[in-house]
Amino acid sequence: MNNKEFVTELAKQTDHSAKETQTLITALVAEICAQLTDENQVSLQGFGNFEVKKKMEHVMINPSTRQRMLVPPRIDIKFRPSTTLKEALK
């Protein structure tokens, strides 16, 4: 389901127009982003939680070229699905 379909589906379910839902989605995503930038964990019952994880720099070897690279430290976003969601899938 790509973005467009998702938006239209959400619009239908929430009784907003497609444009409105798009702006709402943008606002929501911005909020999530802001929280993650502040290193807060966004935890949603029954869905999962988004958190940031810091990765130290490390040496990586490119498997094809065998070139050693030093990857700089990063902050990544991690999503951990909740058990209910995982069960729903199986």
Binding site: M1, V29, K55, L70, P72
Partner: protein, 505 residues
């Protein structure tokens, strides 16, 4: 920071941003995530622009070991949910490290074994930075360091199994080197300690942090910093210093980082990788000297600015003054002698002018000096043709006219640190000799004749000959003058040098 944001909080946030009433916003957010779950089950993939992509990935069964008791288990195949963040959100979150890039390591780059930070740091403290370090360390010790994850964890295993959108699946090097961010900020490609890094970064950042930190943080930290490090153990300060991090990382880290990063790319091999610092350890300690104690933030800012401006201004004024004075003095000096003040006057001859003889002290009154100089100079000019460049070192020739009175023409023998022969400030030079050697004006001896000759043997220098024939290496100048040696460093074996007969003045 490290707070748990629940759905309601999220809903409130979106309500603020979008202008929707809270109730509706909450319903929306619920519906949003519901839809994602449902679509994920249905379609196996959901893409939300701006957030990222949720995917279901099938993992096949594998044999593994039970971590508790070590017995073999079979993990059956299953499906798992992956989330790949969109580039916009990814970059926003990674902003503190935005300036970093991967660098290619050449052959032979190794990493030193990890050492204790504290021991390493404290052992190489300079006294001036002792307080900084101490406070930094205690801050470090007390900050609950957020868990730094190494990439080979279970979560990352699953990431490895599916190719990342942006990276190739990369193999990690065997022994994981516990490296910290700080090594990425190697400021100098020097092999000595990373206190330099710390200093430079602490120095850089602390100034900026001062400017940006909020009031309450400042006073809290201020009160502690002025005293010993033990006082920095309060909870508030680490937390607050930390909060400064996200607010000002973009400003503080990139400037430092970009400078160092460019160095990295230029010469990654040469830099020795010191133990890197934990990613989120606040390195930038607000460290003000005690004069800032008991100041409020505004005062602090003002004072800081004032001080720095004042200091700069004072320094520059002082330097300019000195330059002007010396220039003026020099030009007066030379103008009176009828020369143009030339910029390339080498100070060497003039500074080395210590008359090796009787009374030439610079304490002589300047007018007198000037007069004597002019007398001497006129004679110099007369004699200039006689004592020609033969006796002058080629390099010094150009500066001789400008130096005027000083005889930089005295060729420098290798071991000779001696004063040039003439001193402008020597009154006694007024009575100039009618000898053919005006350079000797300042000398202690006159050449009154030729004592004999000496044939140069292998391994002899003018100095050694002077020593043997005349009793002192200082006398070499007379030999040089008498024999008109253009290059006293080069005397040929077998050549005959005239040994002067000297009379003490």
């Amino acid at each position: 920071m490290n707070n748990k944001i629940l759905l309601l909080d999220l809903a409130n946030g979106t309500a603020l941003r979008s202008g929707l009433p809270k109730k509706e916003s909450e319903a929306f957010v619920r519906a949003f995530f519901e839809l994602i779950s449902q679509s994920l089950v249905k379609d196996k993939i959901v893409k939300v622009k701006g957030l990222g992509t949720f995917k279901i990935v099938e993992v096949e069964g594998r044999d593994s070991v039970n971590v508790n008791n070590g017995e073999r288990i079979h993990i059956s195949g299953h499906s798992k949910i992956t989330f790949t963040p969109d580039s916009s959100i990814r970059d926003a979150v990674n902003r503190p490290f935005a300036a970093f890039e991967s660098i290619i390591l050449n052959e032979g780059v190794t990493f030193d074994p990890v050492e204790e930070i504290d021991a390493e740091r404290t052992s190489v403290q300079t006294s001036g930075d002792a307080q900084t370090k101490e406070s930094a360390e205690s801050l470090l010790a007390n900050v609950p360091v957020p868990d730094i994850e190494e990439t080979a964890t279970e979560d990352d295993m699953q990431a490895d199994e599916e190719p990342q959108l942006d990276e190739e699946p990369l193999i990690e090097e065997g022994p994981k080197v516990i490296e910290e961010v700080h090594s990425g900020m190697v400021s100098q490609a020097e092999a000595d300690t990373d206190q330099l890094e710390e200093e430079s970064i602490t120095g850089d950042v602390s100034d900026e942090v001062v400017a940006k930190v909020a009031i309450q943080e400042e006073t809290a930290i201020e009160g502690e910093d002025k005293d010993t490090s033990s006082r920095l153990t309060s909870e508030s300060s680490p937390a607050q210093v930390r909060t400064t991090m996200p607010s000002s990382p973009a400003a503080t880290e990139p400037p430092v980082v970009s400078a160092t990063n460019s160095e990295q790319t230029d010469n990654p091999v040469a830099s020795t990788w010191h133990r890197p610092v934990n990613v989120y350890r606040p390195r930038y300690v607000v460290n003000h000297s005690s004069r800032f104690a008991d100041c409020s933030l505004e005062e602090l800012d003002r004072q800081d600015e004032l001080f720095s401006w004042k200091r700069c201004a004072l320094k520059t004024i002082l330097v300019l003054l000195l330059m002007a004075v010396s220039y003026i003095a020099g030009s007066i000096h030379l103008i009176d002698n009828g020369c143009k003040p030339e910029p390339q006057v080498t100070t060497k001859p003039s500074t080395s002018v210590v008359s090796g003889n009787k009374s030439a002290t610079k304490a002589t009154p300047k007018a007198h000096e000037v007069q004597s100089d002019s007398v001497v100079l006129s004679q110099h000019q007369e004699k200039r043709e006689d004592v020609d460049t033969q006796v002058q070192e080629p390099q010094q020739t150009s500066t001789v006219p400008s130096a005027g009175t000083t005889v930089s023409s005295t060729p420098k023998t290798p071991s000779q640190v001696e004063p040039s022969v003439a001193t402008p400030s020597d009154n006694e030079m007024v009575a100039a000799d009618a000898s053919a050697y005006p350079q000797l004006q300042g000398g202690a001896y006159d050449i009154v004749g030729v004592k004999g000759t000496h044939t140069v043997r292998v391994g002899e220098t003018v100095n050694s000959i002077a020593l043997s024939e005349l009793g002192s290496k200082e006398m070499s100048r007379y030999i040089i003058l008498l024999n008109h040696l253009s290059n006293p460093d080069v005397i040929n074996v077998g050549s005959r040098l005239k040994i002067p007969q000297l009379s003490h003045r």
